[in-house]
């Protein structure tokens, strides 16, 4: 394929870095992290004015590995967005991905060592919130010499972090891209999280969160939690198109083993996830989702909560996303508009449900590209 225009490329081989912080981090829960590590990746080059930095925030199961690939071939989770010639062009921007606190990919979390005991934190790792993550990210920005981000970008729970950045550090972020997100979860959304948590908490291998010491992993609970999640990330139509009622044996065999292809898919996704993700991180992260509500301290008035914001915003939702429905994104948009913020909103027609935000649907990426291209450095 020969293209006249610049061809989108990968950022290539990337290596994560670790920043160690010894200044205690006060948490919203009232707890304190006395010291902590943040593992992160960067792509592109910070310019002399330090004005081209973009922070990409990850969602429930994401990580700092946003783009490029490791020596083992694993590709970043938003590689279709970040790279030379891509909407978030690393020829122009210095892009940062951070694994959030409480994570399981190298930043301090339940599976890392509690310096007070020399053993894994397990259930003793303090509750962390979206606001705490943003505070930690801000300290990493300090460390990297970034006073102000050109943009903070995130989908789903990552979108909540992007929104929160503009409220916690209004002078430190010029643009927020809030994608497939919500100003707070609905009761139904919390309900899905609670079922996922109960699956983990009730797994006999959970051992009250200290399963590391028992040499086991609550894989059954974690797999079940992931299966529930996957159902809600896909649309009815997408699931129907992908799996339909296809039967593995072409006819019912009256068994609880895998018969329908959707059963096979969910079990595979669940087992795979349970093989690498940490159950305590899943618990903590779903609670962070549930707790997020920037309007809570403003009697539920989101417009009042947004009053201190100074950023410009792009909000994007997807027509078939019922876990983070377009109506929830519109709540953010209307509140921003009524707070006199500059805001644009695109509702992308895409069949893939909540997972749409990870795809490179042409209109979606074109809107991101158009918005990002207009960001002044």
């Amino acid at each position: 394929m020969q293209e006249a225009q610049s061809v989108a490329q990968s950022v290539g081989l990337v290596v994560p870095q670790t920043a160690h912080f010894t200044e205690p981090l006060p948490l919203k829960s009232g707890g304190v992290l006395p010291q902590y590590d943040l593992v992160y990746e960067t792509y592109g080059t910070l310019n002399a004015a330090r004005s081209n930095a973009v922070l990409v925030c990850h969602a429930l199961s994401g990580s700092h590995h946003v783009a490029g690939q490791y020596a083992d071939g694993s590709v970043g989770w938003w590689d279709n967005l970040v790279g030379p010639g891509k909407p978030l062009d690393t020829n122009r921007f210095f892009v940062i991905g951070v694994n959030n606190l409480g994570g399981c990919y190298g930043s301090s979390g339940p599976n890392s060592t509690n310096p007070a005991t020399g053993k894994p934190w397990g259930a003793d790792f303090p509750f962390v919130t979206v606001e705490d993550w943003v505070d930690a990210q801000a300290r990493l920005a300090d460390r990297l010499g970034i006073e102000r981000f050109a943009a903070v970008v995130g989908g789903s729970l990552g979108g909540m972090q992007a929104l929160s950045w503009t409220l916690q550090y209004p002078d430190r972020v010029a643009h927020a891209l809030v994608i497939a997100s919500a100003p707070k979860l609905t009761a139904q959304n919390i309900a899905f999280n609670e079922v996922a948590r109960q699956a983990i908490l009730k797994d006999p291998d959970f051992h009250a969160g200290h399963y590391y010491e028992h040499g086991v992993v609550p894989t059954r609970g974690l797999a079940l939690a992931r299966m529930i999640g996957h159902i809600t990330y896909l649309s009815d139509d997408a699931m129907g198109q992908k799996f339909g009622r296809a039967l593995r044996h072409d006819k019912p065999v009256f068994s609880y083993d895998v018969e329908f292809e959707i059963e096979s898919y969910l079990r595979y996704q669940g087992d795979k996830f349970a093989g690498y993700f940490d159950a305590n991180t899943y618990l903590l992260t779903t609670k962070a989702l549930d707790y997020y509500d920037p309007a809570f301290d403003y009697n539920g008035d989101l417009v009042a909560a947004l009053e201190r914001a100074k950023a410009d915003y792009l909000v994007v939702s997807f027509t078939t996303d019922w876990r983070f429905a377009p109506s929830r994104s519109r709540e953010i948009v209307y509140a921003l508009m009524h707070s006199d913020r500059r805001v644009s909103y695109a509702e992308i027609d895409c069949a893939a449900g909540h997972d749409s935000f990870l795809l490179d649907e042409p209109q979606y990426h074109a809107v991101l590209q158009a918005y990002i291209d207009n960001i002044q450095l």
């Binding site: 519109r330 508009m337 009524h338 006199d340 805001v343 644009s344 909103y345 695109a346 509702e347 809107v367």
Partner: protein
């Protein structure tokens, strides 16, 4: 379509510097961009067509993708100084509903539309063909327009709905038409307000 349209100056003259403006059916955002340049408005566009939304994003104007036929439920009463609908009313099904919504969320509304009673259009009908012109550039089978009305029709609707016409300008191309606008004007622009004058 980012060239300067003759009606932009009229609209700009009805708008004070720094106003909050909502442009319904904002196309590629060129009017909002113009009003931003000459009136420093805080402008938002509404557009439901993906290609036009993308053009707005490229143009650097605020654009919100919603279906106007569903009304403007998310917008607070009286939030905007002016709500504009430039050459789009004829493409809306819920005519009365959207006019009411425009005057709910805005202190004033600005509406422009092609006058179907323009003499060239009448001539075309008399010759047995639906009019096709600069302001009605579509064939009958591919037009996005769903409401076909005249200046006289719109005056009557305002009367019926209790909408006050604060100002009306009629044009044939870029020439102002004072006499017989329903016959001689191809486009009309209106500045509208609620009869109760409750624009706080």
């Amino acid at each position: 379509m980012s060239f300067h349209r003759f009606d932009y100056d009229v609209i700009a003259n009805w708008i004070e510097p720094g106003e909050r403006v909502l442009d319904l059916g904002c196309g590629d955002g060129s009017l909002l961009r113009y009003l931003g340049d000459v009136r420093q408005v805080r402008g938002y566009g509404v557009e439901n067509d993906p290609a036009r939304l993308l053009a707005c994003a490229r143009n650097g104007v605020n654009v919100i993708q919603i279906d106007m036929e569903q009304g403007l439920a998310g917008f607070d009463d009286g939030f905007f100084d002016h709500v504009i609908m430039s050459l789009s009313l004829q493409a809306m099904r819920n005519t009365q509903g959207i006019l009411k919504e425009m005057l709910r969320v805005g202190h004033e509304a600005v509406v422009s539309f092609p006058n179907f009673a323009y003499w060239r259009h009448r001539q075309s009908i008399l010759n047995g063909r639906m009019p096709v012109s600069k302001n009605l550039p579509y064939q009958w089978y591919d037009t996005p327009n769903v409401r076909f009305f005249t200046i006289a029709d719109f005056d009557a609707l305002c009367e019926q709905e209790g909408i006050v016409i604060r100002e009306r300008l009629a044009f044939d191309e870029d020439k102002v038409i004072v006499d017989e606008p329903n016959f001689l004007a191809s486009v009309a622009l209106y500045r509208l307000a609620r009869a109760d004058g409750a624009a706080g």
